[in-house]
Symmetry: C2
Subunit: 217 residues, 2 copies
């Protein structure tokens, strides 16, 4: 497998990267700066890519926020909700059609590199608020990717039915340096510990029963 990995520098896509290396896949990391409030994740992505000595591209698309208004992740005038992902208020963190946009860019990059696969780390915990993390979305996108070029592009999403807890367990087996990954949406230099993704991260370490290596504010 030759895979372009949608790589945010977060916990999920870092576990995915280790998973692919473990499977002896050829890996190209691909990150996108879409004007997200939490630019800090881009620095994490660079650090982890360097640590693994992997080829990595960061595409700068800061203007994209102009046409995708209404998300607290790209519009700092909208207050970032705190609490659990399952809460209704978290819908403010949805960036419209983000995954299709990111997957389509990654697939274009894969085609230009003659790679055969795009990999992304959507997991079961995402489904309650992010429509574009659902397995049926991923299945349909795979069919679209198969037809986007004369050669089939595959969509690899091995975690789509895993919980965050299972994902952390898997990362533990693979030796993932969790402390180097970045989850927080709030835009600070330390994890805030209160936004949806921080709450989910904390909870996963607790459920697995290992010390949380994250520095919180």
């Amino acid at each position: 497998m030759k895979a372009v990995v949608l790589f945010s520098g977060g916990l999920d896509s870092t576990v995915l990267t280790y998973h692919l290396i473990n499977q002896k896949a050829e890996v190209k990391l691909f990150s996108i700066d879409y004007g997200q409030r939490h630019q800090r994740e881009i620095s994490s992505s660079r650090m982890i890519a360097k640590l693994l000595n992997l080829n990595h591209s960061v595409l700068e698309l800061p203007m994209i926020g102009e046409i995708l208004g209404g998300s607290a992740l790209t519009d700092t005038t909208i207050e970032l909700p705190e609490g659990h992902y399952a809460e209704e208020s978290m819908k403010k963190t949805v960036v419209p059609n983000r995954n299709m946009i990111l997957l389509s860019l990654a697939a274009g990059h894969a085609i230009s590199l003659n790679f055969d696969t795009v990999a992304y780390a959507a997991h079961a915990g995402d489904h309650t608020i992010y429509p574009d993390c659902r397995p049926e979305f991923a299945d349909s996108m795979e069919k679209s990717l198969n037809l986007a070029d004369w050669n089939e592009i595959k969509l690899y999403r091995p975690f789509v039915n895993l919980t965050k807890e299972e994902l952390v367990r898997h990362g533990l087996e693979l030796g993932v340096p969790f402390e180097k990954t970045w989850s927080c949406y709030a835009g600070g230099n330390l994890h805030c510990g209160r936004c949806g993704t921080c709450v989910e991260r904390k909870e996963a370490f607790e459920l697995v029963g290992i010390p949380d290596p994250t520095d919180y504010n």
Copy 2:
């Protein structure tokens, strides 16, 4: 119907715009500067939007060419092929996964505007070299768009089985100002008359049997 139209300022998407107006749809025009050699089409898109007094956004994504290498449309070091679209050499004008990228951005914009539809003007003449203009690709993308958000986004592609000739006939009935549309890929200020899209444009006017209003170099 409230439709975001993928609008290049070319003949096809201009006929589509007139078609939607004729159907009393609410229309938002959406153009993307992806670093194409033929920037001139962006000026045409602005002129036509103004003429029709339609809301129009142009998203600037010039960096995208960095990850989509290998197309003569975005890389000026690759010679632009001349001749008929059906020829093998025209594959050099394929921008990897362009339509999925453009459709996904248009859909994100539609979701943020609370619109229900994305419209694009792929037609039968495109199928021989562009995999992402095939009806089966459009059908699959519609399913993916249906699932990308909690509300369904529809994909409207009324010309997917029309030839360019039929498209020009339809434009003629609708009063499309063909002379204001831009097709040429070569990047000059007048149409070159020799690249694939110029050859197809000329041929369509001939087949319909009307004078070609285009100024050629």
